[in-house]
């Protein structure tokens, strides 16, 4: 079963790459771009048929490795 995870910076944490992308977009005449936050996306193939169990495993992985909860939030989608 494939589980998808999105890791993003928490609100309020400076994202200099996002800022640089936003400024570049503004410079390319996408003037209405007000903010960009960059994140990470994972597709995790888990050998598990029960979706609930698979997601709970991935949740544990997020806490232990995929996200650093000091600055990042994660979402299992």
């Amino acid at each position: 079963m494939k589980i998808k995870v999105i890791v993003t910076l928490k609100n309020g944490v400076l994202d200099p790459q996002g800022k640089a992308i936003q400024q570049t977009l503004n410079g390319m005449n996408f003037g209405n771009v007000e903010d960009v936050r960059q994140g990470k996306y994972f597709e995790i193939e888990v050998k598990e048929k029960d979706e609930k169990k698979a997601k709970s495993l991935v949740d544990d992985m997020c806490k232990k490795l995929l996200a650093n909860l000091v600055i990042e939030d994660y979402k299992i989608v």
């Binding site: 400076l14 200099p16 000091v70």
Partner: protein, 227 residues
């Protein structure tokens, strides 16, 4: 004083550290990350570099290496653990040190000499150090120290801020902050001050024919405090 330098795939300051430690009289050994135990040591060093190519987050993969359990046990039993640059990043990822090193504020890799102010001398690294400001070297892309407000308060309350970026006269402000680190933080301790993580490289400042000798003071001081 016996020391061990841990080598991870992608470490690149391990041999410089070995040279520096031996120069001042440490009996140093190199330890591979896949080993399960560390030879009897008084100091463990996690060196600088780009362990695992900085994949996922700097230091995150190395922080799950086989050897790390021994490092954590050693630290929890009061042993001295020093993490330089990538070693500092690894220590934050293990949870031995608070916070995280984010990408530099202006998205640039910084390679230059800096001055750092020693903020606390009630510890085995800086006790009785003759100088308050050291000239050291930094080379990093992710050195922008960040932690939550609560963590920062507890670092300040317990005097766990070890060194901060400053001018040659010790002035700390935005212009002497190379990477955007919160409160100009260049290095911190754990609660018991036996674990030290810092971005600057003392091992690069151990010879007058390199760019300075303030790193020598740092290593000699650890030895003096051990006696």
């Amino acid at each position: 004083m016996r020391s061990s330098v841990i080598i991870f795939p992608g470490s690149n300051c391990d041999r410089d550290m070995d040279v520096a430690l031996k120069k001042f009289g440490f009996k140093n050994q190199m330890v591979w990350h896949n080993d399960l135990s560390i030879p009897k040591s008084d100091l463990i060093v996690l060196p600088g570099g780009f362990s695992y190519g900085d994949y996922l987050r700097c230091g995150s993969i190395a922080s799950k290496s086989k050897i790390i359990k021994s490092v954590i046990d050693f630290a929890n039993s009061g042993g001295l653990v020093l993490g330089i640059c990538n070693g500092f990043q690894i220590l934050t990822e293990t949870g031995l040190l608070k916070g995280i090193l984010q990408q530099n504020k202006f998205l640039n890799f910084i390679c230059s000499n800096v001055f750092v102010k020693v903020k606390d001398k009630q510890n085995k690294y800086f006790k009785d150090l003759k100088k308050d400001v050291l000239e050291l070297h930094i080379a990093h892309n992710e050195g922008n120290y960040f932690c939550s407000d609560d963590e920062l308060k507890s670092l300040e309350d317990n005097n766990q801020i070890a060194v901060t970026y400053c001018g040659d006269d010790g002035t700390e402000n935005e212009t002497t902050n190379p990477n955007g680190a919160i409160k100009n933080i260049a290095g911190i301790f754990n609660n018991n001050k036996n674990v030290l993580g810092m971005m600057p490289h003392p091992e690069r400042m151990i010879d007058k024919y390199l760019s300075g000798e303030d790193g020598s003071l740092f290593f000699k001081n650890i030895l003096d405090n051990f006696k």
